[in-house]
């Protein structure tokens, strides 16, 4: 009986994925606003970035600098395109590999610490990347790099309007999802989860905490760099200001809002909502950030499992539980010291 229900659940899941894929692939047919298409593209990018935050979270690490390798990827891709004559198609894989190599170097130092220390190190690293980019003449200083080439035509497809960019973003997103999903469902993902749930127990099982966290750091960096490479050739401009501290905070919000325990779907839900809700609140103009902020506070305080967590577990919210959530933050901070 149990097996039957699980098979049914699997079938429902597959059908849902197919419907979602068809919907996403045919979406440009129903939308004629270039601006909405732009928001969809940004939602794809936001989803990728949120997923890289969740990937590190799945090993028990909290990164406050999720935008760091997004910036690194954008700059590498811009330099490859402007100074070395790479097209997007050549720059993209080189950028991903180069960023992964850089992540291997800095990550081998960063992941030696966990908890609050790791969070602060990543925050400083992301800030340092932005400041360094602003100071270096070769990278255009604070003015950034302007005039990066669009992707060269792919057969008959030319990148002159939003639709091909949308499909390109969707393809990169699909690639990232496939790679992450393959990791989560393998023994590697199981080891990540073990480290997150109990570092001590996973150690006594022979799991090398350092090595597995480093792997997660490198994979997350590669994902963020892929998004960064796309960004450079989509906006055709890369400036340090675009990767400032707020961006990293937004990326975390995507993951938290959607539901931290949903490593793939959570950031997608969060990124779509965070991209579109502020747009529809534009009617109230300057009060929009306040309303968005209050909405976020309500969701995070009263639905700590995120939107998906609240729908799927449908826990009753009561005072005692809320208090236990708040005090658990205190215990978490004590633990991570």
């Amino acid at each position: 009986m149990k097996q039957l229900t699980s098979m049914k659940g699997k079938a429902v899941k597959q059908v849902a994925i197919i419907i979602l894929a068809v919907f996403l692939l045919t979406l440009p047919l129903y939308i004629d606003s270039a601006y909405i298409m732009h928001l969809l593209i940004m939602a794809c990018i936001g989803t990728i970035l949120g997923m890289t935050f969740s990937l590190l979270f799945s090993t028990g690490l909290i990164s406050l600098g999720a935008a760091a390798f997004y910036a690194v990827g954008a700059y590498i891709s811009a330099v490859l395109s402007m100074n070395f004559g790479f097209s997007f198609w050549g720059a993209f894989p080189v950028t991903v590999i180069a960023s992964a190599c850089l992540a291997l170097v800095v990550g081998s130092i960063f992941v030696r610490s966990g908890g609050i220390a790791f969070a602060i190190i990543t925050l400083l690293f992301a800030s340092a990347i932005v400041l360094a980019a602003g100071q270096v003449e070769y990278l255009g200083g604070w003015g950034g790099i302007i005039g990066i080439a669009r992707p060269t035509p792919l057969g008959p497809v030319e990148f002159t309007n939003k639709t091909p960019y949308y499909y390109l973003a969707l393809a990169i997103l699909a690639l990232v999802i496939l790679a992450f999903y393959a990791l989560y469902t393998s023994r590697i993902g199981r080891a990540w989860k073990a480290i997150k749930l109990s570092p001590n127990l996973s150690g006594t099982l022979g799991i090398n905490l350092y090595r597995y966290r480093l792997l997660a750091f490198v994979v997350a960096a590669a994902g963020a760099a892929a998004a960064g490479s796309f960004y450079a050739h989509y906006f055709q401009t890369v400036t340090p200001g675009a990767f400032g501290g707020w961006l990293s905070i937004y990326i975390q919000l995507y993951a938290v809002l959607g539901g931290l325990e949903f490593y793939l779907l959570g950031p997608a839900v969060g990124a779509v909502l965070m991209t579109f809700i502020p747009e529809y609140l534009r009617v109230i103009k300057e009060y929009e950030p306040i309303v968005t902020g209050v909405l976020l506070l309500i969701v995070i305080l009263f639905f700590p499992g995120g939107i998906l967590g609240s729908i799927i577990n449908s826990e009753k919210i009561n005072g005692a539980r809320l208090w236990s959530r708040i005090s658990s933050i205190g215990t978490w901070m004590k633990k991570s010291r």
Binding site: A182, L183, R187, I188, K193, L197, S202, L205, G206
Partner: protein
């Protein structure tokens, strides 16, 4: 050569000497009991063997190879499994997933094959799942395999901790108070389980306060008091040892 050789281990915490110049051999295939009053240094010794705390002085050899100063996971990779005193499990995972995690060190397919889910990697995964079911059956946990570890009663959590340790395929199993807090029936069940674990060819080093369990289980017993070994003998002789009685009850009682 003994399976585990502890040579002149000393560990000091601040001004307290938790373990003082302790030497101890664990022979292959035996069940060795480690007893002593609270604060005798039993848990410290466990933490030193499994790599959680480095010793200040002394060396530890496993199968003739020095393991002092190795990381926790490196020691686990050598074949030493350790059960914590507090139930330490992956609480938010099912019983089955908990045991599956225990097989970590036995995967032979490389990273990239696991990532790409190649047929060889999938076969390996299926094999591990079958073995996990076998271990669940051995520890009488089959009926709970889909429960979250957090929802298990205390006794079953202990059994699950041992099941995870067995999945690592250890040669030496360190058990920290496996029957403390259990009722007599549960205790007897656990004692039988531990005997059967030894029959599987696993050497057991056990810390326990329940004297009845220790006496019926162990081939040899080592008694610690204030970080020093005060006796090492067969259970029957330990029972009559005056120094041991003194350490447990104090001099005036005798």
């Amino acid at each position: 050569m003994a399976l585990l050789e502890i040579k002149n281990i000393t560990r000091i915490f601040g001004g307290l000497i938790a373990v003082r110049d302790l030497s101890l051999d664990v022979n292959e295939g035996e069940i060795l009991g480690l007893i002593g009053p609270n604060g005798a240094g039993k848990s410290t010794l466990f933490n030193i063997i499994s790599g959680f705390i480095p010793p200040n002085k002394g060396k530890i050899f496993f199968k003739g190879e020095e393991i002092t100063g190795l990381r926790i996971d490196q020691i686990a990779q050598k074949g030493i499994a350790r059960i914590f005193q507090e139930p330490t499990l992956f609480m938010q995972e099912t019983v089955f997933e908990n045991v599956l995690s225990g097989f970590h060190r036995h995967y032979r397919q490389p990273f990239w094959k696991a990532f790409l889910h190649t047929p060889a990697a999938n076969r390996e995964e299926t094999l591990k799942k079958e073995k996990a079911l076998e271990i669940l059956d051995f520890m009488s946990l089959t009926s709970m395999s889909n429960e979250l570890a957090a929802n298990l009663p205390h006794g079953h959590q202990r059994a699950l901790a041992i099941a995870i340790a067995l999945a690592t395929g250890p040669e030496l199993l360190l058990l920290d108070e496996p029957v403390t807090g259990m009722n007599p029936t549960e205790t007897m069940g656990m004692v039988e389980k531990i005997k059967r674990i030894r029959q599987r060819g696993i050497t057991v080093l056990i810390v326990e306060h329940d004297m009845k369990a220790v006496m019926s289980l162990c081939d040899r017993i080592v008694v610690l008091s204030l970080g020093v070994k005060i006796a090492e003998n067969m259970p029957a002789a330990i029972r009559k040892d005056e120094q041991v009685i003194e350490a447990y009850l104090g001099k005036q009682v005798i």
